[in-house]
Each structure stands twice: as structure tokens, then as C-alpha cells.
Amino acid sequence: MTIDVKANPAVASSPAPRRMSKNVRFIGGHLGTLSAQISVGIVALLLWELAAHYKLIDTFFVGRPSAMLLAFAGHMTDSVFWGHAVSTLVATFWGFAIGSTTGTLAGLVLARSKWLATLSMPYITMLNTMPRVALAPLFILWFGVGMNSKIAAAVSLVFFIALINAMAGSRQLDRDLDDLARFLRCSEFTRFVHFVFPVAVPSIFAGLRLGVIYSLLGVVVAEMIAAQTGLGLLITSYTNQFAVSELFSVLLFLMLVSTLLNTSMEKLEKRLLRWQGRE
């Protein structure tokens, strides 16, 4: 998303010197934009801090940035906090891995089989539109308080996102490429591997990118309902103790983690989809 000069070293050098200079300008513009964006955040934090300092707001309820950052520094060196964090992240990983794999496979199968899709589509739509975090208590009932119920909550979210994106994606093969596959006498298998699946990949990736974030969401919600470890548990207990700055510190950590996950997915996506030539 940011610096794209070396996006296609093989070709950019010879046929498109013009594109190079455009990119260089783009980076300059982007750095300017970035510093402006950071400034907005700093100004907001400063206003918050000043409002707290002059007692315009009640720090008992809304905390203050300096206290939040202090709590954050404390958390970063606290092995108990990291125990919670690791528990949440491990569950997020498994929820994502299981949900996205099964969901993508199910989507690809449903896209291939018309009658299976016809039979199951109404139910998939209903399950998908229902607020699935409401299932979290049920998973805790089924799998007990612990890792498994958190993973189940995450899978219930990720599965449908992956399924719907994979299904939509594998229907995007256009008429011309389909004709080519037919003209080349491709077998069903070859057609899938060399035509249907590559066409679906961008859409599948869009689902995976969402899926990572939703996996974290599912895990934290499950932890907030009932858990022995995890950041969701930490959030509830800090809230109950009115420890607002510590609560903000956890939220800050979650925000950083989800941004990192999202960015890594974007990076991976750009690498695998460099044939699209998007900025």
C-alpha cells in the first residue's frame, strides 16, 4: 500500500520509466499524508490530556493518555499480561486457520455443485445474517471455559466470511476465458486449477483479510463472557475495577495487533496478487 517502487523490478525498469517518476512523486505525497495523519492523532491525544489536566473531563470515567501510556508500558513488561495476550493470539490463530480453510473449501465446493448450493443457500444466508457472537455463550456451554470455546466462537465468524467470498469469487470466470478453457479441451480439474481458482483468489483474499479481524473479535467476545485467561477477560475485570487507564491500555494493544494482522495480510496479498498490478 505504501512504497511501491520495487513492486515489479522485472519490467518496471525497461518499458515504463514514466511510471517510476510517478511513483517517486507518489511516495513524497504519501509521506506528507502520513505525517499529517499522525499529527491528527497527536493533536487529539494532546487535547484529551489537556482536558484531563484542566479537569474539563472526569478522568475516573474516561482516563487520560499519559496514564494509559504508563499502564501500557507496565503491561509490556508484565509476564501476566503477556500470558493473557498469548492465550488470545493463539486462539485467534486457530480460529482463523480452521475457519478460513473450511470456509474456503466449502465455498469452492458449493460453487461447483449447483444442487448443493440451491439446497444449502437459504440456511447459509440465515446463519450468516444472524448475529453470531450471540452463539458464544452456547459454545462455552458445549466446549467449556477455555481454548476450545474461544476457537469455536472465532470459527463461527470466519467460516461464513470465507465461504461467501470463495463462492462469489469462483463464479467470476468470464465468458472469454471459459471459452478458452473449453477450446483447449481442459479437464474439469485443469479448468479448476488454472482458471476458476486463480480468478477466485482476489475475492478469497478479501475474505481472509476480514477473517483475521473477525477471528480476533470472536475470541475477545468469548473471553469477555467466560474465560480463565485472555485479553477479553482482562477487559471485563479492568472495567469492573473502574481501572479505565489499564482498560485503554488493553484496547490500545488490541488495536495495534489487529492493525499489524491486517497489514501483514495486505502485504501477503500484494505479493501473491502482483499480477493484478494494483497500487
Partner: protein
């Protein structure tokens, strides 16, 4: 008309002798074709068309849009099954496309997730060319169309003209005995079109392959082909079947100032205008 057909056989026999492989004469017999349409009434697309094309002949199919010329082409390619009548190629009825056919589509239909070289290699693989030979053949053909430096480029990095060059290279690389082309130069600007027409003619003249070429451009049809078949407005019938008596090798720039071109053009464009005016 009969006389002309006899001459066509002679002409191509002379050229066919230079070629080596088996001849694939095309025999289209009493073809009728109906499309299913939105309304209940089927659309009569092709009306009682019969057409003999000897091996090695370059035939252009022209006519108003929607006259069924592409449908006829796709029937010869084995992509569309006629409602009635039969099509024989090399003495056997057409059931699907064959390895000795090549198709250049109106849009380039390159696989965007494959590099230029991989695109050529894929079509070679589908035509049963041995793995060890593919890279060599691909490089050779990329050189012949002037794209030797673009083997590693993706589709998005190529201009429209370059894409169509790859499409031509990948089709000719399989050494087809019958080349089907559906307005292959229509999407190009005038300059690029002329260059590619010349290149294609030059490459084709070495092959002895039959070409069936759909176009709506009369000039292109006359300058490139041995024979122009003009179809009527839907339902498409053959209105004029005319041999073009211009010597080979052709010179697309100079030939358009010959009396033969002028006469053919006048005759065909009058007939085409008649069809366009008929409603």
C-alpha cells in the same frame, strides 16, 4: 460461384504441397442454428449455410453485426453445436475442438496471473507438447512477434497490441492446421492494427494453415484473405462468396491501390450496405 470454388481448391493445393501435415478441408453442410432467447421464441441465427474451405485457404467471414458469423466460426471450432446440419473437418464430423486447431479471440484472453512466457507454455502444455520443449518453443515464438524482452511481464504491463501479439504467438506456437480468428484486430488502434495484420500475414504464409477469420472490416478482409464470404442480416445466409485475386505475398499498404482491391471493395460494400439498409 462453382468456378470460383474450383479455383480455390487449385490455389490451396499449390500452397498445401509446400506444407507437410495432413490436410483438414472444412465442409459445412446445410447448417441451421437457433438461439434460445429471453422470450420463448428461438432466434434464427444461421440459415441453411453450406461452405467448403480447402486446406490452406485464408477465408474472411464478413457481415452486419449479429449475422451469425461468429456463431458459424464457433461451430467450426467445435465450441457451438449447430441446431441442424453437419460440419466435417478433414473428413470427420466436428465434436468439440481438436488439438490441430488454434483460436485467436476478439479479446486477448491471456491468463492475467501468468507471465507472457507462461501463457504460451500453458497453451503448449494443453496441446500436448512435451515439458522439455515448451520453454524453447515459447521463446522462439515470442522472438518472432518481437516480445522476447517481455517473457516475464504480466498482462497488465502490456499494451493492447502486445497482448494480442502474445495471443497470436501462443496460437501459432502449437502449429495449428486450422486457425480460427474472431475479429482479432478490432480492439486495436489503426496504427497497431496495420502492423499486426502485416505480422500475422507474414507468419501465416510460412505455415500452410487454413484461416477462418471473422471481421466487420471489409478492407482488412480483402487485403488479407484469399476469399471473402459475405453473410446477410440475421438469419445469416451466404450472400456473396468471392475469391480475391491479389498475389501473395501480400503488401497491405500497396495492395489497397490495386484495381482488384477497388473492384472487390465496391462489390462487397454495395452488398453490405444493402444488408445494413434492409430492415
Amino acid at each position: 460461384m462453382r468456378e470460383q470454388a474450383a479455383r480455390a481448391v487449385e490455389m490451396s493445393a499449390a500452397r498445401g504441397a509446400a506444407g507437410e501435415a495432413a490436410s483438414l478441408d472444412i465442409d459445412v453442410v446445410d447448417i441451421d442454428h437457433y438461439f434460445r432467447s429471453q422470450s420463448d421464441r428461438p432466434v434464427h441465427a444461421v440459415d441453411d449455410v453450406s461452405l467448403q474451405i480447402p486446406q490452406g485457404q485464408f477465408v474472411a467471414l464478413v457481415g452486419p453485426s449479429g449475422c451469425g458469423k461468429t456463431t458459424l466460426l464457433n461451430m467450426i471450432a467445435g465450441l457451438v453445436e449447430p441446431s441442424s446440419g453437419r460440419i466435417m473437418v478433414g473428413g470427420t464430423p466436428i465434436k468439440g475442438s481438436r488439438p490441430e486447431f488454434g483460436y485467436v479471440f476478439a479479446r486477448d484472453t491471456l491468463l492475467p496471473w501468468r507471465t507472457v512466457r507462461q501463457n504460451v507454455e500453458f497453451v503448449l502444455a494443453m496441446s500436448g507438447v512435451d515439458r522439455r520443449e515448451r520453454a524453447g518453443i515459447a521463446n522462439d515464438w515470442l522472438k518472432r512477434v518481437g516480445l522476447q524482452d517481455f517473457g516475464d511481464a504480466y498482462r497488465y504491463q502490456l499494451s493492447q497490441g502486445m497482448r494480442q501479439r502474445v495471443a497470436i504467438a501462443r496460437t501459432l506456437a502449437t502449429r495449428p492446421r486450422l486457425i480460427l480468428m474472431d475479429e482479432p484486430f478490432a480492439a486495436l488502434d489503426a496504427q497497431t492494427r496495420l502492423i499486426l495484420q502485416n505480422e500475422f500475414i507474414r507468419l501465416w504464409e510460412e505455415t500452410g494453415a487454413t484461416v477462418v477469420f471473422v471481421t466487420h472490416d471489409l478492407t482488412e478482409a480483402i487485403l488479407m484473405s484469399d476469399r471473402v464470404v459475405l453473410m446477410t442480416r440475421r438469419p445469416g445466409r451466404i450472400k456473396i462468396d468471392k475469391l480475391i485475386d491479389l498475389p501473395r505475398p501480400r503488401n497491405l499498404e500497396a495492395d489497397r491501390f490495386t484495381p482488384e482491391f477497388r473492384l472487390s471493395y465496391d462489390q462487397l460494400s454495395d452488398a453490405l450496405r444493402e444488408e445494413l439498409d434492409r430492415l
